[in-house]
């Protein structure tokens, strides 16, 4: 009998051929056309184990190691490899964590990936590590990743050194070098020299199976990259001077900046209150950080030396004297009389009339008001604003009103108003010398940071030039530092004009009528100038700038003690002790030292703030 359905065999054959063709087309696409699958296969089988480089070390100017590294150990976990019968209690006891914490960390790890390693516990101590390592074989799936943390030989210099923390998302976005879990320098030297200190991560590539078990090294290690250690830095800081400065500023608020005038190297930079840099290391970091950040009264994280801008007060007078000399509106013979002040600016009792030298020595307000008025009313210029603009140019030459360009990250510019600033207040040509007369004695609108003040002092010590202050004097083996720190910035003031000013400053400390005669040091000629910065919020700030010795100065210093009253009272002794410490390494006037050490302004300030 004829099969009526015989032709259906062709349909079935066609179906089979088409199905096979479909498979082959799909295979052609994934095997021959696309090559992304090869990459995926490589990613599956290769494990990149990061080799973290040790961060560069930091030495002080005398070669003393101040920042070093300590080993820390992260416990890593690969959830897929952990045993089901894990002895959780034993494990938690070994590491000193709660079962709750264990569960939380485990859950986070599983959420991240079951097969890839993630950090289970950060930065365990040496002792815990030693205990854990003995028993590690009991806990498959856990292993230890060594990291390095900072260690400080002395608990000082927190503001200068900065700190290191884990990178945040922001930093990762900005710089593709960083990966989650990396450390990055925050503030201070750690931040500004991050690229030098961090070195370069290396990576070892291993072959792993689906259980993440290492099956050997990939391509015999030919593709591995070696971690490159960060470069060591030599800081210009004198760590003992820094330590002494922090000791003197204990229980006070304010700052000290000491600079070597010949080079611009920062010898000490104290901001009080401060904190122990060791607090921001390791597992205690985040807790301590939020505690420090939460202290809104003392604001210990705030670096006053760079970021607090004050009106400079009388310490500004030497600059005004220099400008007046340079502009030719006064000379060595010029004397101004003072009857307890000039117009509405008061002054204290002293002999009168005074020369420039005497005016500096006695800090006569009247003298500088009259000199400043001559500067602004100089017939050489068409108008007061024009003369004022010239005055501002001189200030800018001394580094005021703009960032100095140091190797600190959070430097503030301070503020020197431009002529147009006063135009806005008084109307164009609506102001005269008397409108801004308080600038003569360093009050008014100008704002200057302690660092800028120290820099000005160095420029006076150098008789007219300065080097941009910097905290790092050598990087790595070749010692190179940025050229901007070896360029000399000269002012247009004739070096000869500095003699009178310096003599006045010498007299202020060493003269019989000097405002700071109480802090003179035997056999070292200190040239200084006291100042009192008006403080609208409370007691005036005590300010003192000085350099020593008079010939070939080796240290220029600016000291601010907040809410401490007149400059001579507290800032001058601190500066004098610092100078003696640096130049002699011992203190002659033990009574003065003890008086400063015993001084506790902090209690007074807190009492006041509580009252408010």
């Amino acid at each position: 009998m004829k099969d009526p359905f015989i032709n259906r065999k062709y349909v079935i054959m066609a179906l089979i051929v088409m199905a096979a063709a479909g498979l082959i087309i799909r295979l052609f696409i994934i095997q021959v056309v696309k090559d992304s699958y090869r990459l995926s296969a490589d990613n599956n089988v290769l494990r990149y184990v990061t080799q973290y480089p040790a961060r560069g070390l930091i030495y002080d100017r005398k070669g003393e190691l101040i920042v070093k590294n300590q080993a820390a150990y992260d416990i890593m976990v690969v959830p897929a490899q952990t045993a089901k019968s894990l002895d959780t209690t034993g494990f938690c006891d070994l590491l000193g964590i709660s079962r709750e914490h264990f569960r939380k960390q485990m859950k986070a790890a599983v959420n991240y990936s079951r097969r890839a390693p993630s950090v289970f516990l950060k930065q365990i101590s040496d002792q815990t590590y030693a205990r854990f390592q003995e028993k590690m074989f009991l806990f498959p799936g856990f292993y230890v990743q060594p990291r390095t943390l900072r260690k400080y030989s002395k608990s000082v210099g927190a503001h200068v050194l900065g700190y290191v923390s884990e990178v945040d998302d922001n930093a990762i976005r900005k710089d593709p070098y960083y990966k989650p879990g990396d450390y990055i320098g925050k503030s201070g030297i750690e931040e500004s020299y991050e690229k030098v200190l961090r070195g370069r991560r290396g990576v070892k590539i291993f072959l792993v199976d689906v259980y993440s078990r290492i099956k050997g090294s990939y391509a015999d290690g030919k593709m591995d990259t070696v971690a490159i250690q960060g470069a060591d830095l030599t800081s210009s800081l004198d760590i003992r001077l820094q330590e002494y400065g922090e000791l003197l500023m204990h229980n006070k608020r304010g700052s000290i900046v000491a600079i070597e005038p010949q080079t611009g190297e920062v010898l000490a930079l104290v901001s009080a209150p401060t904190y122990d840099p060791g607090l921001l290391v390791g597992r205690i970091r985040s807790e301590n950080f939020s505690r420090l950040q939460g202290d809104t009264l003392a604001i210990p994280l705030f670096n006053r030396a760079l970021m607090a801008a004050y009106p400079p007060g009388s310490t500004f007078k030497p600059i005004n004297g220099l400008i007046a000399l340079q502009e030719g509106v006064i000379n060595d013979e010029t004397r101004f009389s003072c009857n307890k002040g000039y117009m509405f600016v008061g002054c204290h009792v002293h002999s009168s009339p005074l020369s420039l030298e005497g005016a500096i020595m006695n800090s006569c307000n009247s003298y500088f008001c009259q000199a400043f008025r001559r500067v602004l009313e100089n017939p050489k210029y068409k108008s007061v604003p024009e003369a004022y603009a010239q005055w501002k140019t001189y200030l800018n030459q001394f580094g005021f009103g703009s960032k100095l360009g140091t190797d600190f990250v959070n430097e503030l510019a301070g503020f020197i108003p431009s002529a147009s600033y006063y135009d806005r207040y008084h109307g164009k040509n609506g102001w005269r010398a008397l409108s801004v007369i308080s600038l003569a004695i360093g009050q008014g609108e100008i704002l200057i940071t302690p660092l800028q003040m120290a820099n000005m002092t160095a420029a006076i010590a150098n008789r007219g030039y300065f080097y941009t202050p910097h905290i790092i004097k050598a990087i790595g083996k070749d010692n190179a530092i940025s050229k901007r720190f070896t360029d000399r910035h000269s002012s247009s003031i004739d070096p000869a004009n500095f003699d009178r000013i310096i003599e006045g400053m010498e007299g202020a400390v060493n003269g019989a009528a000097g405002t700071a005669r109480a802090v003179a040091i035997k056999d070292i000629i200190v040239c200084g100038k006291t100042g009192t910065a008006q403080n609208p919020h409370g007691d005036a700030h005590s300010v003192f700038v000085a350099f020593a010795p008079k010939d070939n100065p080796r240290i220029a210093i600016a000291v601010y003690v907040e809410n401490a009253g007149a400059g001579a009272a507290y800032a001058a002794p601190v500066a004098s002790l610092m100078i003696e410490k640096y130049l002699r390494d011992s203190i002659g006037n033990k009574a003065l030292e003890q008086k400063i050490l015993d001084l506790n302004l902090e209690d007074k300030i807190i009492r006041r703030e509580e009252e408010h």
Binding site: F5, I16, Y37, R38, R114, V210
Partner: protein, 474 residues
């Protein structure tokens, strides 16, 4: 009358050579899939490749045994064999060992047996036996229903295990039913339903319903070529819909938009029925029924999919359709499998050089995902070669089936073709992400005694029948 034949000379050598090539290639790939540097002896019987060697030796003995038996045995005992395998499928539900949530295996002291592998040739035999004396083919309902029952019974029993893979294989025998005369419209409708099913999961029901209506109108125009009719029909439908919608909106307020369209279809059906009756327009009726059926189907798929299909199967379908992506959960196997095969490139990474294979990224690689090893280590060339072997074997078996004089042998031959084809297509298709993950082995390649023996018996019964095709002039 019986002619004497030389059994060896009459066996189809092409099929036997392909069979031997496949089991050998399979064995080498199992070795590669299980391979690790520490154990390298290919005859290590603690490892799968060692065991597979034992299964292969056993399967060759079974093949010889199947061939030695008189061909009439298979015809006369076909119902008995079917009954026995059905009994095993029932017993496994009771005594079977539960592995991965399914009762598919008997275990006798370290040795396991999967009865569904044997039910495959049992069902093919029974179907052949039943259809061989139906002279008019599968044109009448009283013939179709028992035929369907024969293959639905084992399918139902494997559904209870549950083993979806084996269940689908029994449906493969529809190819046999088609060859033996079942109406192609049933297949076309089935195909349309499957397409609609996937479309429903991918697209919004409302849009799909509107599209179906548009398709119906266009069909109507192309078949009748009367645009007035089309416009009138569409107009009636739109007006009914508008009335129902307004009624619902202002009075009933409980019909969803889908129900509004569906009830409008039914209501407008009254008008169409009058037209169909007066004009005797069968075409219009067919199109109308198609339209109503499709719309009803579309609106019930979601319910079926969400309530009847098992969650893990639902996920597999969703991953295949790209509705969901899940590279670490359910999609992990497929993803890793595609990576393995894709990374093989044109010429492959070389034998035992596959990193995906060696480091066990693909689960079940020696069994259901054995094709990954082929794809990764032998590349496109090797994959095409393997597919070519299957294609050749299947076409050869169709050729053999068509040269049978007895309809029993022919129908059984198509049973073999259907079962092998579905296994081959689904298995390879799932490793390259072309079909959802359905756990069935690649015939003659995958590791496992039961499946190897099941396929061997399936194939060699047919080769035995073919060898005897000239003995009788039936």
């Amino acid at each position: 009358m019986k002619r004497s034949i030389n059994l060896w000379n009459s066996l189809d050598k092409v099929s036997i050579v392909l069979f031997l090539l496949m089991i050998t290639a399979g064995w080498f790939n199992i070795y590669a899939a299980v391979f690790s540097e520490e154990r390298s002896g290919i005859f290590d019987f603690s490892q799968r490749y060692g065991k597979q060697f034992v299964w292969i030796v056993a399967t060759l003995l079974i093949a010889v045994f199947v061939v030695i038996i008189d061909n009439r045995f298979y015809f006369f005992f076909s119902w008995f064999i079917y009954g026995a395998t059905i009994l095993l499928l029932i017993l496994v539900l009771i005594f079977g060992k539960e592995i991965n949530g399914a009762r598919s295996w008997f275990e006798f002291g370290g040795f396991s047996l999967q009865p569904s592998e044997f039910a495959k040739f049992g069902t093919a035999l029974a179907l052949a036996s039943y259809l061989s004396n139906k002279r008019h083919g599968l044109t009448r309902l009283d013939v179709i229903v028992p035929a369907l029952a024969i293959l639905l019974l084992p399918a139902l029993l494997t559904y209870f295990q549950p083993d979806m893979g084996s269940m689908i294989v029994f449906f493969a025998l529809f190819i046999v039913l088609f060859r033996e005369g079942m109406s192609p419209y049933i297949f076309v409708s089935g195909l349309l339903m499957i397409i609609l099913f996937f479309l429903t999961l991918l697209f919004n029901n409302l849009y799909l319903t509107i599209t179906i209506i548009a398709v119906a109108v266009i069909l109507l125009f192309f078949i009748t070529r009367r645009w007035k009719l089309c416009i009138t029909g569409t107009g009636i439908l739109i007006i009914t819909t508008a009335i129902v919608y307004l009624l619902d909106h202002y009075i009933f307020n409980f019909l969803g938009i889908e129900l509004v369209i569906f009830s409008s279809l039914i209501l407008s059906g009254v008008v169409f029925a009058y037209y169909i009756y007066t004009k005797k327009a069968v075409v219009v009726m067919v199109i109308y029924l198609f339209l109503t059926g499709s719309v009803l189907f579309v609106n019930t798929v979601d319910y079926t999919f969400n309530n009847i299909v098992k969650p893990h199967q639902k996920q597999r379908i969703e991953i295949l359709l790209g509705i969901k992506s899940d590279k670490h959960g359910t999609g992990y196997n497929v993803n890793q499998s595609i990576i393995s095969i894709g990374s093989g490139g044109f010429a492959g990474k070389g034998y035992l050089q596959g990193t995906q294979t060696k480091f066990k990224f693909v689960p079940a690689q020696s069994t259901d995902f054995i094709f990954c090893t082929v794809g990764e280590e032998w590349g496109f060339l090797g994959s095409v070669l393997v597919i070519g072997m299957y294609l050749l074997l299947l076409l050869r078996l169709i050729f053999l089936a068509e040269r049978q004089r007895s309809s029993f042998s022919r129908i059984y031959g198509y049973g073999v073709v259907s079962i092998l084809f579905v296994h081959f297509f689904i298995n390879v298709g799932m490793t390259i992400g072309l079909v959802p993950v359905i756990g069935i082995p690649l015939p003659f390649f995958s590791y496992g005694g039961s499946s190897l023996w099941g396929f061997t018996i399936l194939l060699f019964i047919f080769l035995r029948l073919d060898a005897s095709r000239t003995e009788y002039l039936v």
